[in-house]
């Protein structure tokens, strides 16, 4: 039960972060190049992603031994989770600029607005930009859905959590439209990074032969340990940043 809930939360959070980024691109394409092309591009990309899950999900379950699957999946989750966590810690401590969706949106609108428009029918630029943006951001979601869903045997739960995130982010995105800065992206990235690293450690270790004490409950212990390290790292690096800024001449 604990594991299933954590999986649903991790997939929801990861999908929400990626969908905010995809939404920025679709909004920019829709406003500058027309909504029809942008929505068709986004729709086709979502369809492609669903096909990838439907084709690779069952195939991986049937043809790959569970231990091998867990090692590969655990390793992928660890790499992805550590990348997210590293970036979120560096941003939270001021060593890396925060991801500003509003600035990205403005840049995209300016760039797309300068390109020549189609006189009638579908706008190829808007369609392609929207399709590529949703496909690339969505591919990360698909990887997370497949890896978390397959290792735990809860592919349906993971898929539904991702779908829920898509619906929630789209609804909120349409409501707030251009205020994407309000989404606490770094905090979400940090929490999801912690979850991915915990799941990655658990399954990667289990596939490699580690016997976790307390079975699924170890996930909570791993989450707590990594959260404690993250809290300490953010504090330490923030202090170091402030100290370095104070020592700068002038």
């Amino acid at each position: 039960m604990t594991g299933t809930l954590l999986i649903a939360l991790a997939v929801f959070g990861a999908s929400a972060v990626e969908m905010v980024e995809a939404l920025t691109i679709v909004l920019a394409a829709g406003i500058t190049r027309g909504w029809r092309s942008a929505l068709e591009g986004a729709g086709l990309a979502v369809l492609c992603l669903l096909v990838v899950v439907a084709v690779f999900g069952p195939a991986l379950v049937h043809y790959v031994p569970l231990d091998a699957l867990r090692v590969v999946v655990g390793s992928l989750l660890l790499v992805l989770g550590l990348q997210w966590l590293r970036k979120a810690i560096l941003r939270a401590s001021g060593h890396l600029a925060k991801h500003d969706e509003d600035a990205i949106y403005r840049r995209e609108v300016e760039r797309l607005g300068q390109l020549p428009r189609a006189h009638s029918g579908r706008d190829a630029v808007g369609f392609a930009i929207s399709f590529k943006g949703v496909l690339l951001e969505g591919m990360e979601v698909v990887m997370i859905v497949l890896t978390l869903g397959l290792s735990s045997g809860h592919l349906a739960v993971a898929s539904l959590a991702a779908l829920a995130a898509v619906l929630v982010v789209t609804a909120v995105g349409v409501a707030v439209s251009r205020q994407l800065r309000e989404v606490p992206e770094n905090a979400l990235k940090l929490v999801v990074g912690l979850m991915l690293v915990s799941f990655g450690s658990f399954w990667g270790g289990e596939g490699a032969g580690v016997a976790w004490p307390g079975s699924d409950l170890s996930l909570l212990a791993l989450l707590a340990a990594y959260a404690l390290f993250t809290w300490g790292a953010v504090r330490l690096l923030s202090r170091r940043r402030v100290g370095a800024a104070a020592a700068e001449p002038g």
Partner: protein, 70 residues
């Protein structure tokens, strides 16, 4: 059509390695280390994975801070 495999390979490389090759290599070392340790210890090596992951993240953060200062 011929460009698809190359583009897919680049996407996979960016996805797994990107600008943090130390994490990709480190995770491989963690998994192989856990596998090597679990044989003689009979699965009683659960402490290794979280410890190695924390050390790996600390090393990558250190690299990130150094790079951000340049």
């Amino acid at each position: 059509m011929k460009r698809w495999p190359g583009a897919f390979g680049r996407f996979c490389y960016e996805f797994v390695v990107g600008d943090t090759p130390e994490l990709a290599v480190g995770v491989a070392v963690v998994i192989v280390g856990a596998w090597a340790l679990s044989r003689p210890l009979g699965g009683a090596d659960f402490w290794f994975v979280p410890l190695a992951v924390v050390l790996l993240l600390a090393a990558s953060l250190w690299r990130g801070v150094r790079m951000s200062g340049r």
